[in-house]
Symmetry: C2
Subunit: 361 residues, 2 copies
């Protein structure tokens, strides 16, 4: 879609959106009905991501007794995947399902709400969002765009990615062409890699054609469905770049405020459910698919060497220093994130980490 | 409350419960309204547990646009805390908020849905419930009681408990009088301890009076509020007995089925939200209160010696063997739980555990 046809489309799209009223005889309760649209950054019907968007919509419709109907559009069906932020910000589309790190060019601090290299796990990140001020900071970052946002899925700890050669030292990143978005991409750039970004559906092709040498996506379950094991044989862990990745539901503020209180609560609560449910699905399936990749497809599971991880951690510090020194909002968000991570890690040392260490006794 | 007055109460309670209809002029939408009651096992207004029940009720009322109102009763206000299962099973009360391990005497397998010693963490347990068949098994266990049930809170990894003496060897459990419910209590009984159970509000008093020598409750945040640091100075970790503890929302099946589909979805989704929110609160607060306990109250934080944990693990195996050999439903549930734990632990080894191990590099 070129710029002109996109604008025309947005105008046309705007004309048919909005709320409608149920008609009928005078009534004690005349429920106002809403027909909304949601754009996503995912290929239509893609498992768990697109599927999560579909489930969210069905759940909202069900809980609202049909008062709020949401029609889903896959990436590119209504607007190009990376235009959804603008379409929802302008209010021509009511809501979007995506990843906040897509919008780093519009609001630098947005990236923190997806994933932070050497940052927090899913449980800890949710602690920060729901009980540590993270969600409030997210609203602050999105406010200038007339958007509100909330977590709607989490992948858990990701894998480190697929490589067509082994990574033995940090030098192996020099000249490496890799698909890695967000902060992770900036970190490997410091190590000499070239980041080549593309939407999910193009990564496989780029790997196969040698446009890229390596790619990071999610984890065993989702990566298997994407077929990366047919293009690269080394599968690295742990996912230092995304120890948890949050997907977002973003909503035009005015559209949200036009809803009755019950529907506002319905949306927020449905987002909590999807956030927990999708993480549960990943937890449940990742090992099954990891074993399949190893045993049926000969994938070689590799741990990054400590020296490589140490170097990546040091580059991460540089990336954060640069960003927070030039963008005050990023400084504010990262300060909150880091403080929370410090506290929650001290607790992890006597809870999850200590507990995991006794299971082998 | 004695048995007679309880029965009379239940009869009287039954007379005023049930659904009412909104009255008014003929209407397109006449929303059916429900006034429900929820009994809890917690002291009225107790933080996070009772508070979670209150929030759940408000959330359901809000999302339903006032169609489903739930009035909460703290433990003992309407029925004694440990009678709530029966009251909801009989249908005189619509719903209850508690812990499934209270009902081990009625259905042996119920205990698995709260916590399993050396079992799964919160994230893994939720994986089992929501995407691994755990929730379906729970329904099977509760079906004979006309109840459905679902997770409504998780504490995360608990602490090992408060002790008035140090635990150096497994011999130190001989003659120890300890508050520890569920499977954990059975395990330390094998080690020679005497389990003394009491509701939350009585534990402090029992510690102070020397009726018990040790007590396990939740973790730093909640334990601080209970004041245990004023009665014992050794605070042990990790909580081998409850690596995560799920609280439950249980509902009379007939009452649930009488609800419209939207309200059924509202209840289920609100329970997901509370499950995630309460865990997030614990994650956010535990370290702050742990530091306060150590620094302001001189509590001594201790890790159980490996030899003690090994012995407790061996006793756990005996407890499970005994239970599963005599109760087929427990065998079925434990088989599902163990299979899931094996898979999810293999995944943890390359995800959370591997990730946590690189943070110190």
């Amino acid at each position: 879609m070129d710029e002109n046809s996109r604008r025309n489309f947005l105008k046309k799209a705007g004309a048919v959106t909005g709320a409608t009223f149920a008609v009928g005889a005078p009534a004690v309760h005349v429920a106002r009905k809403y027909n909304w649209r949601m754009v996503t950054a995912w290929p239509p019907n893609s498992p768990l991501l697109g599927e999560g968007a579909e489930m969210l919509a069905r759940l909202i419709e069900e809980m609202s007794g049909g008062k709020l109907k949401i029609r889903i559009y896959g990436g590119g069906e209504l607007v190009p995947p990376l235009e959804s932020f603008e379409a929802v910000s302008q209010g021509v589309i009511e809501m979007g399902h995506g990843s906040s790190y897509f919008w780093g060019g519009k609001a630098a601090a947005a990236i923190f709400f997806t994933a932070v290299p050497f940052g927090m796990t899913a449980q800890q990140t949710n602690g920060w969002f729901y009980a540590g001020g993270g969600l409030e900071l997210w609203q602050e970052v999105y406010a200038p765009f007339n958007l509100i946002s909330m977590p709607v899925a989490n992948t858990g700890v990701q894998m480190g990615g697929w490589f067509n050669k082994e990574i033995r030292t940090i030098e192996d990143y020099k000249g490496l062409k890799m698909r890695m978005p967000g902060f992770g991409g900036r970190v490997i750039t410091k190590a000499g890699a070239t980041v080549v970004l593309s939407v999910g559906s193009e990564i496989y092709m780029n790997m196969e054609r040698g446009v890229i040498d390596a790619a990071e996506w999610v984890g065993p379950y989702h990566d298997y469905l994407m077929g990366f094991h047919r293009t690269a044989k080394y599968y690295y862990y742990p996912g230092w770049q995304e120890p948890s990745a949050t997907l977002e539901l973003f909503i035009n503020r005015k559209a949200f405020e036009s809803l009755t209180k019950d529907l506002q609560a319905v949306i927020k609560t449905a987002a909590y459910r999807m956030n927990l449910w999708i993480l549960s699905e990943f937890e449940s399936r990742n090992n099954i698919y990891l074993q399949k990749l190893i045993n049926a497809y000969g994938v070689q599971l590799k741990r990054f060497p400590d020296s490589v991880l140490k170097a990546l951690k040091s580059h991460t510090k540089d990336v954060m220093d640069e960003l927070t020194s030039k963008d005050p909002m990023s400084k504010k968000v990262y300060a909150s994130y880091s403080k929370f991570q410090k506290d929650v890690s001290a607790w992890a040392a006597v809870s999850e980490i200590a507990y995991n260490s006794i299971l082998g006794l």
